[in-house]
Symmetry: C2
Subunit: 528 residues, 2 copies
Amino acid sequence: MSSVVPSISPRTGDVVEVVASETPTASVDRICRAAAAAAEALDALGRDGRAALLEALAQALEDARARVVAVADRETGLGEARLNGELTRTCYQLRLFASVLTDGGYLEATIDHAGDTPMGPRPDLRRMLVPLGPVAVFGASNFPLAFSVPGGDTASALAAGCPVVLKAHPSHPATSKLCFEILTEAARKAGAPEGTFGIVYGQQAGADLVAHPEIRAVGFTGSTGAARALLAVIEQRPEPIPFYGELSSLNPIVVTPAAAAERAPRIGTDLAASFTMGAGQFCTKPGLAFVPAGPDGDSLVQAVQDAIDGLEPMVMLNGGIAAAFTRGTAVLSTVPGLTPAVPAPANDFAAVGPDAAAAGAPAGSRNAVADGGGFRGTPVLLTTTAAELPPEATEECFGPVTVVARYQDESELFAALATLPNSLTATVHRGADETALPAELTRRLRSRAGRIVYDGYPTGVAVSWAQHHGGPWPATNTQHTSVGTTAIRRFLRPVVWQNAPADLLPPELRDEYDSIPRRVDGRLRPIP
Amino acid sequence: MSSVVPSISPRTGDVVEVVASETPTASVDRICRAAAAAAEALDALGRDGRAALLEALAQALEDARARVVAVADRETGLGEARLNGELTRTCYQLRLFASVLTDGGYLEATIDHAGDTPMGPRPDLRRMLVPLGPVAVFGASNFPLAFSVPGGDTASALAAGCPVVLKAHPSHPATSKLCFEILTEAARKAGAPEGTFGIVYGQQAGADLVAHPEIRAVGFTGSTGAARALLAVIEQRPEPIPFYGELSSLNPIVVTPAAAAERAPRIGTDLAASFTMGAGQFCTKPGLAFVPAGPDGDSLVQAVQDAIDGLEPMVMLNGGIAAAFTRGTAVLSTVPGLTPAVPAPANDFAAVGPDAAAAGAPAGSRNAVADGGGFRGTPVLLTTTAAELPPEATEECFGPVTVVARYQDESELFAALATLPNSLTATVHRGADETALPAELTRRLRSRAGRIVYDGYPTGVAVSWAQHHGGPWPATNTQHTSVGTTAIRRFLRPVVWQNAPADLLPPELRDEYDSIPRRVDGRLRPIP
């Protein structure tokens, strides 16, 4: 029975159905070989063919919206409103990558005609990007529709021309299976080769997947621990492959004295909404906010507390996450210098027993099973000072908890900022006409984050051409991004054709081709 | 005495001078901290300031041409003609990166104005690339001026805005020191901050360098073994950093029957020139050529042999390389099925004794010392068949040796190609009007190499916008390139500003800025 993959309701902790068996090594091998066999035909669909494929996948998910949202809601407890929004997001993202293909700039087509240079004669050189080959995509627990079987990794890998083998997240296997079936069927109808999609279940299957010689890259969103385990498998490969991991992020927020003076209550209310959104289970959740000492800051903290006081315990994604949240907030509450903004009832920190993860969970799911009440966490606000910021307050704690650190002056603030780990995001709330302190904060935060947010909140990662979802370690382990159009570049590599006859060149590199942006003889030429 | 770094003449094997001491760990630390301290000021020079810096560096190297070439020739034996060409190349490359900075497209500036989307309202998002921070550059033995202290890694890292700490190659420490002094002095005069350049000597210093917390990326050209040793050090870091390694490459050549019928003698003569150029010490040296069986192929092989028959033993870069070449060709000559095209005199394989590397070499240099005749290797041509291609013939052997594999038909050729390791390059010689076989070869070789050369030779890597110097493992360990303008991207990372007030944005991301290519609201805008 250890090989069973159950779908568990986080609202009740009950197993609702058995979705699949864990995928044995031999099946992982077969699936990866099928992906490799599909690679050339998927590439040969061309940009137009793959754009049509992505549009068809989006439409198929749209057409199955009610069914997908219902299964995902049953399995994740995220609620239909959020999941409908997430489905919209994932369809939008597929269509955005279709437009990336139509645009063609992602190919980085570059032509240097033969000619004389100070180095002597130069041959004709033509460069563009080509697909890497089959990509393994590890779904994340917290976005069952937008960072999972469908999502940024899948959309960008397919757009690049790479078959995708998915590792289903054990927190939502039924959603994964349903989405996989919808995508596979739509891909078949759209003329994509068999093997364009594959799916595997189970932790060992995930390790087998990244070890497989046909896999050429890995897209991963999850914990630093799981990433390290997969990286250890990759290090055993004879051929290294890129592992694009989106891992851990504190997402600090700085509220300047001017901002607090102008709008403390509003910032407090919005901060509470941001750190409790999705039960705080966002990689961009603000985990630490620097707020000035004094009455303006006091009223900001009070507004946060007021906003969360009325909140019910929130359903969390699975027993493991709920237990880790309970443990994490319990530990935080015992750290000297870290105190609840208002004293909390004793059971606030014990929505599920801290040992639930170790007891009674099906081995296949690794979820803790709660006794009737499901997996829940109560929002927590803790306060401390920037001057004596405890190290525990600078570690990501997944779930609806944030720490407010009060600072007396800029030097105290800057000293505390220098101790923070790097993040996906950093946020500055400034006064309407304030420039000096925000400029100094921008200078200090630019090296610590991949996105700097002004007068807003880091949760909510718009999908667009300019977006970037990454940051220095431990936010991500590469410079690359899993959101935004440049995500496609992770799955491409350059090839140069030297003195090639025109009929052996890809169409995009022939002289007369002019429907994509290209750099010709050193000058970027737009689409006419 | 183990800490002495000697400059050795490969023509005689004699120590000419002691250049430096190995850099102790404390000094590596000081140098890396100085680099980190320089990072912000180097970035603040801006694109124009750094373009001027690169121009000044090129001019300073030009001004010192005679001195640099003399020292490099004494230390590498590569000859003044080649070294003058290499200096020209490295100056051209510095100036090309100046033009990359002026162009500004490398920033990938992207602006999405706030607006409504199917996902709801989108904030204003503006993305561009920013420097990673201090970069460690490991010089290669075989290009003392173009892949060493000056070279593609240094030029692209500086252009990106990253200070550079150089690891001097033990094969040319005097050249490294001289170039470092020239660059440092020129950088100072051009207004670059102290710490823009640093240099370290010795193997332990190299390990200390990649372990140092201030180092943010590594550029490396060298052996797979040395790369693995450095990667093992990087794996011990708390924060991973990218390691851009250019490692090992066989560079297969395929001559089609039509090409052999048209111009066998010419191809043979040119192939001989390519694999013996620079004593075969190029990462792009063609190490294996597939030539059709039959009379045309015979005359091609004879032309290769005729071209090398008159050649004297060639001076090699150092004792270790000469000894490895001697060992390698000796091993190849004993492999069943691999035979010299014409029987070679017994001492052809023993320009220096195979154990020279282990005996009598100064520990600091790890060079073998030959007895009076310096470090030399005699060009070797071996032949075999594609049908029974020995695995030894598919491994890179640095130095003037190549293997010609004769094939009976396409199926034999394709089967042999499928067994090759990946390479930086692959080359096709085709008949003037031939398309079917060259197209099939292109299809098969595209996944195995980073550059496909037609009717030419892979040696000679032009520096240009479209160039790429990389390939699937083991050619390189990432998708990235160390030659060509996109080399700069290895040392940059994206940052997004969300809803930033204009005065907090970098100039290149403000609405009114229009002197670089940018993508605005999804559409690439050229320079007006």
